[in-house]
Symmetry: C2
């Protein structure tokens, strides 16, 4: 039998899933809506059916595949309890007992954590963090997520919720955040944060900009990146401001956990040098001397298309590796 691990990435609008092998190939994948079902149970049923279709598709041509574990990345994923706790952008409220409920379909290990933690493990097993023991992955999308790897293992903390860098505070009187507070990092550094920055700059500055023709609702981080590439003054200033704030908070992050590398991942990170150059500049500027010139800031080395599925699957592959290395140690003694 060829062993496969299912990776499931639960997002607010859609859920991606796929079957992966130990080398980090996604052999089959698909997705379902995260909003069209009447109940969470119905959603799980549809997800199960989808996974079974993927498996059947593979076994149709080459029989002998089986699922040996399921990894799940979810917003507000609680690793210790296997639950999704009050995720603001999911349709279903309260505490969703995902792992317990999904056990009705599969008698294999199921591990659930937040999506940024999954991205960090994916980076370690299949991306740019191979061999690294201390690094951080920052995901820059509709929010700012973070996953810390410390001494070769994900950092969960006491209650499983470590790594909420997006909700560290830049300015207590700053921008309103969806979490109910003000001035959280992700209100500045994320795709919507960049759009908000452009709006403020359009008001504050008299510089000419192609972005003056675009409404708030039509504006996207991709459009702003595109305008920055061709020298639009407002777009460039917006990236510089975003990088300055991110650099300041990355310097704090380094003072907490002293990582070797910080990987930036997700929509906003696709802007490339326009983001990375100033982020590197400001992080160095704000870092304590002890750390200067020691911390690398790099783009993720996992292709975005399969990153979420591979990250989720990595939760299981990483545990399997640990178990195998322990067995080896035991047989030596």
């Amino acid at each position: 039998m060829k062993e496969l691990v299912a990776g499931i990435d639960i997002g607010g609008t859609g859920t991606k899933f796929g079957l992966t092998d130990r080398e980090g190939n996604v052999l089959s994948s698909s997705q379902i809506s995260s909003t069209s079902q009447e109940s969470f149970e119905e959603y799980l049923e549809e997800l199960h059916a989808g996974l079974e279709s993927c498996l059947a598709e593979l076994n149709a041509t080459n029989n002998g595949y089986k699922i040996v574990g399921i990894g799940v990345g979810a917003p507000n994923g609680n690793y210790y309890k296997g639950t999704i706790d009050d995720a603001p952008n999911l349709r279903w409220r309260g505490v969703l007992t995902f792992v317990e409920a999904f056990k009705q379909y599969y008698d294999v290990p199921i591990i659930l954590t937040n999506d940024a933690n999954a991205a960090a493990l994916g980076e370690m097993l299949f991306g740019g963090a191979k061999g690294l023991k201390d690094f951080v992955v920052i995901t820059l999308g509709t929010g700012l997520g973070s996953g810390f790897v410390v001494n070769g293992e994900l950092l969960y903390g006491y209650d499983g919720f470590a790594g909420e860098v997006g909700h560290t505070i830049v300015d207590v009187n700053g921008r309103e955040c969806g979490c109910g507070r003000q001035g959280c990092l992700e209100t500045y550094v994320s795709a919507p944060g960049l759009v908000r920055t452009v709006q403020e700059l359009l008001g504050r500055s008299v510089a000419k900009s192609a972005l003056r023709k675009v409404s708030f609702e039509d504006m996207t981080s991709a459009l702003i990146a595109q305008k920055a590439q061709v020298g639009d003054a407002i777009a460039l200033r917006a990236f510089d401001y975003t990088a300055e704030i991110l650099g300041l908070k990355l310097a704090d992050l380094v003072a907490h956990t002293s990582p070797e590398t910080i990987f930036l991942f997700g929509g906003l990170a696709n802007a490339g040098d326009i983001l990375f150059d100033p982020v590197r500049h400001y992080t160095e500027k704000f870092m304590l001397n002890l750390y200067k010139d020691r911390v690398k800031i790099l783009p993720s080395a996992i292709g975005e298309q399969n990153a979420a599925i591979l990250g989720a699957a990595a939760l299981i592959w990483h545990d399997l590796k640990n178990i195998e290395s322990k067995h080896q140690n035991l047989s030596i003694c």
Copy 2:
């Protein structure tokens, strides 16, 4: 033979050291100056002689003690290399190869790390953090130090320098810091930070205060605490301001590593409720909902007198425990 571990705490003016047993008793202790010797080598020689005196004293009454390991807490202590790297408040500049040099006197394990890391391990083995796996110790003295324990182990990070919370930035245009930057947390939250806050408040406010009679140089955090206890308006405001800034940065810290408990230790923490009550209030206020009412903020449970020696010695006792539990596991298999 009764096994002892030496604990050494290297400070800018004095070096404390002592011999400890496995239960956390300091059986013999002493100290030497950190400034009176002509060279670092001479300092090490004096330190060695001091330790030998402690040992001889014990063996005079009850022969059979031996030193099985040496733990060292030092400013800018580099755990991986066993060196003290450019500590600004030590007499000797550059990189001091402490562990390598001290091996000439003792053929036992010698572990060196920064003093706040040592304090955290001391809290875990002998203080209020027994049985905890995720906690932080913040030392509030002439600076602000921090030691993180994550999943039961000290967090060193890539280069051994994790835990510099005192140099996270509160305000990029804020107070000048000894590290050459501006607005570091320890310029606000530390014994000298509190004195600086009082100075600023004396200028800004017209409130009556006994502190108006005291010069900057004569003012101490202990005096300010004493005046706060009797209701001095400026002293109380200074504690509130200090707590607000500490609470803000502790909320960030929680968002990074999600500890179960944060211990406050050192001179400023001795102020008691006058500090702890507002620190708890502001930390809760600034924390993300996910963490509210979950993180305890407590005073250290190690008596200050022996804390530094016990913390340093804990570096070795903790490793010995780990080695013994591994041996037990191996003999089971």
